[in-house]
């Protein structure tokens, strides 16, 4: 089998085994599961229900008075989920099915200070959230220098949890300055609890660290566990692309990085050290990571045939590590690719499609369209850093072999043989 046949077999196998989930999808969207209801929409429902249930409650009270009934249960009193705020202070809010707070519990000393004598029982969740955030600002736990809040949401129903996630993010209002909020859905299994206990942090923070690790952060869980929520958020944000949808986590606001020199400054320092011009730089990438407990910028870029790697102290901007790699690396090959084309733009390392290489070869050999020839095989190959397609096919009793430059499309070699 050649490459093309293997890929075709994989394609066929996947297409044949792809399960049909359309009915499930259709069912779910027609039942509103794919919809995001806004907090205000739901508030209206909640209020209406609240009104009805207060009449119901009155009736219950009346009947209790009459018949002496002592135990009763209502959806209003049942905890169905919780919202856990963490800055440094930690506070847990238990809520009922109408997003009304049933209990607000401080989870550490700072949390107690923030809650103070606030009475949040029976308030709507969004009101309670903003009251707490306001108090965190007033007590100096949230400042314009450290403006991150981590909110972990847990709910009996995973569908409701998703909705709650979005609602909570929407509900968070800015104070005197913009807050950087991350709201994540947490499924607090025994394993997660064990991991959190092991690192001596909350389950929410353990989950957030996991999310950050997935984004390509190299630092270990132990190292990350020692950082504040704000520092973690700064790292998180340096790794996510604009508007990227992250399943199970929603975010808004920019985490302030006043403590750090910033990506732009890091870029300047690295380019100056490498003695290269901004305009020659390709594939620039910089993000924050943790190296031996220290925040660093990891900077990577390419100029011509050379790949540069830098590590900068994120606070002082001092170069901690630099590395320059020239020939024979993967990256060198791709820059050779771009050099071999007439245009030298950064996008020049695009490779032509195999069909186009075939089209070119067949047209050259027979003057026909590529659909007219038999036994086609097109394979990409590399020699001395130059990529080319080996194109083989048969037509009219002949076997043809072509080599086509994979970037420029020019014919490097052609061969024609009797097909016996």
């Amino acid at each position: 089998m050649n490459n093309r046949e293997i890929e075709a077999k994989i394609k066929n196998a996947v297409e044949k085994t792809t399960p049909d989930v359309w009915e499930r999808v259709q069912h779910d969207i027609s039942h509103g599961k794919g919809e995001l209801i806004t907090m205000s929409d739901k508030r209206k429902k909640g209020k209406a229900l609240g009104f009805i249930s207060s009449i119901a409650a009155a009736l219950v009270l009346v009947s209790m008075a009459i018949f002496g009934i002592t135990n009763y249960s209502r959806a209003d009193l049942k905890v169905v989920g919780s919202v856990y705020l963490e800055v440094n202070p930690q506070i847990e809010l238990s809520i009922n099915t109408y997003d009304v707070v049933l209990e607000a519990t401080p989870k550490n000393e700072d949390g107690k200070k923030v809650l103070g004598r606030m009475e949040l029982k029976d308030t709507q969740l969004d009101v309670a959230l903003n009251a707490i955030l306001g108090s965190m600002v007033k007590n100096g736990y949230l400042t314009s220098q450290a403006n991150s809040v981590l909110i972990s949401v847990e709910h009996q129903s995973s569908e409701k949890a998703k909705q709650l996630n979005v609602d909570v993010l929407k509900a968070v209002k800015n104070n005197d300055f913009q807050l950087a909020t991350v709201v994540q859905t947490v499924n607090n299994t025994e394993k997660l609890k064990a991991q959190a206990k092991n690192l001596n942090i909350t389950s929410g923070k353990a989950e957030f660290i996991q999310l950050i690790k997935e984004k390509g952060v190299k630092a270990s869980e132990e190292e990350l566990s020692k950082l504040s929520v704000h520092e973690l958020n700064v790292i998180f944000q340096s790794h996510i692309k604009n508007n990227e949808i992250i399943e199970g986590a929603d975010y808004k606001g920019t985490a302030t990085q006043n403590k750090y020199i910033g990506i732009q400054k890091a870029k300047e320092i690295a380019l100056k050290d490498a003695k290269v011009n901004q305009k020659d730089v390709r594939d620039f990438d910089a993000d924050l990571d943790l190296e031996k407990g220290k925040m660093v910028y990891e900077v990577e870029f390419e100029v011509g045939n050379t790949e540069y790697d830098y590590e900068l102290d994120a606070v002082s901007g001092k170069i901690l590590f630099s590395h320059k790699e020239g020939s024979k690396s993967d990256t060198e090959v791709s820059s050779k690719l771009s050099n071999s084309t007439s245009t030298s733009s950064a996008k020049a390392d695009a490779i032509i499609a195999p069909e186009d290489a075939l089209k070119k070869a067949v047209l050259h050999a027979t003057g026909l369209a590529s659909s007219k020839v038999a036994d086609v095989d097109v394979e990409l190959d590399e020699e001395r850093g130059i990529y080319h397609y080996d194109v083989d096919f048969k037509h009219g009793g002949y076997e043809y072999e072509y080599e086509i430059n994979a970037v420029s499309g020019e014919i490097i070699k052609s061969d024609k043989d009797r097909d016996d």
């Binding site: 089998m1 359309w22 399943e247 594939d283 490779i351 990409l380």
Partner: protein, 190 residues
């Protein structure tokens, strides 16, 4: 026989997908269905390449279209629709990884067998199983994106944030492994 790894997505170009996504943003169910029919194998294949488990890939397939339905209004990357769809699927896969990490159950090792459908030829079955068991994560993803989702190498490089040459060499290396193993043990229905 002339079969190609198409550069269009299942014979559909990005423009068609763009239009469908815009219709989905206006809550057009039939547009979602068409989008689903056109892209489901690419999405499923990609999820399978990441998760190696057909049942988890099936869940991701389902969740991905629910997310598309809910967030199509945010779509703004015209011309890169398939990459947008794949990114949504990828984030669902990460959620599965997170759940696996915290879950009490161990993932069954015997994942490849589940995927084997009776309708597959002996060779297809062999290739798919070999694909799931012998290739590393990068090789699996690159080959799947190229062979099934119809991405060009350059697009794969952008999506996976790898240099183009790395994509090419990993693609090459992955297929080479399959070819070599095939020489050793394959030759079923050729």
């Amino acid at each position: 026989m002339i079969v190609f790894c198409t550069t269009t997505f299942f014979g559909t170009d990005d423009k068609t997908l763009d239009e469908l996504i815009f219709k989905v943003a206006n809550k057009d169910t039939s547009a979602l269905e068409e989008l689903y029919r056109l892209t489901k194998s690419g999405i499923y294949g990609f999820a399978l390449s990441m998760l190696k488990s057909p049942s988890d890939a099936e869940d991701v397939l389902h969740d991905t279209y629910l997310s598309i339905w809910a967030s199509a209004y945010m779509y703004a990357s015209e011309g890169k629709s398939m990459a947008w769809l794949i990114t949504i699927a990828k984030n669902h896969c990460f959620k599965v990884f997170r759940n696996r990490k915290w879950s009490e159950e161990e993932l069954s090792e015997n994942t490849a067998d589940e995927a084997l459908d009776f309708s597959l030829s002996a060779d297809e079955k062999w290739v798919l199983e070999e694909y799931l068991t012998t290739l590393n994560d990068d090789e699996r993803q690159i080959i799947m994106l190229h062979a099934v989702a119809g991405f060009k190498y350059r697009e794969i490089a952008d999506l996976l944030n790898m240099p183009l040459s790395t994509v090419l060499s990993k693609h090459h290396r992955g297929l080479k492994k399959l070819k070599e193993n095939y020489k050793k043990e394959g030759t079923l229905d050729e």
